[in-house]
Symmetry: C2
Subunit: 131 residues, 2 copies
């Protein structure tokens, strides 16, 4: 076999994902092993890059099937492109919301109201977040 390929155990260690998660991703069409080393799945080094991308997108609130779809994206697919644009707007809004939430938390940490949620400053901040 090609010894540039990496066994699943090693990929798991380097990516920080459990082997069970890698198999799960395979079932979902997110990744593919290049071959086998005995029974063991063997991956190309690029798989690590792809896994980093997957982890990052998942952390950002993408579902695994959205990620699978985006991974298959080709420049000709206008509909998918539109969905990516929509996702970008969604992420932008989320950034704004989280920023305000962070400010609320920052205040709450050093605020002395009892209970904390009764603090008028905090309440006002929350109104800014949801509004």
């Amino acid at each position: 076999m090609d010894d540039t390929l990496i066994d699943i155990g090693e990929v798991a260690r380097q990516s920080g994902l459990a082997p069970s998660a890698l198999r799960f991703y395979e079932r979902k069409g997110l990744i593919q092993a290049e071959g086998r080393n005995g029974l063991r799945r063997a991956y190309r080094p690029e798989a690590l890059e792809r896994l980093a991308l997957i982890t990052c997108a998942r952390d950002a609130g993408f579902t695994l099937s959205e990620i699978a779809e985006f991974l298959r994206a080709r420049p000709s697919d206008a509909r998918l492109r539109e969905r990516m644009a929509a996702k970008e707007r969604e992420v932008s809004e989320r950034v704004a919301q989280l920023t305000r939430l962070r400010d609320s938390l920052r205040h709450a940490v050093s605020c002395d109201h009892d209970p904390l949620i009764e603090c008028p400053e905090f309440k006002q901040a929350v109104r800014r977040v949801s509004g």
Copy 2:
């Protein structure tokens, strides 16, 4: 009964949450009805504020039990304060990550590589996100 109280159906409409969700939140200790109107739960108007806060925190990636804990927060609880501070750092990091992800998406939308994920610029952006 006190007619400043609001029936669950009305709270559901105004908050955008399903009545089943409100009952679920009650079981989880996130909210309480002030009384009953026949069988129907009746809430104080402030409940709407609290629900806005809950929705906002949930959207930000807090679990319901984290939210319940934060809602009960009193200024004297130093341990909880530390957890809030930790959460604030977490949210900050998330904001940074999402910002970079948004930039990647923004690029991907107008990029012509086939498939899109092979674009070197995109890959580099992803490395910035996960790194």
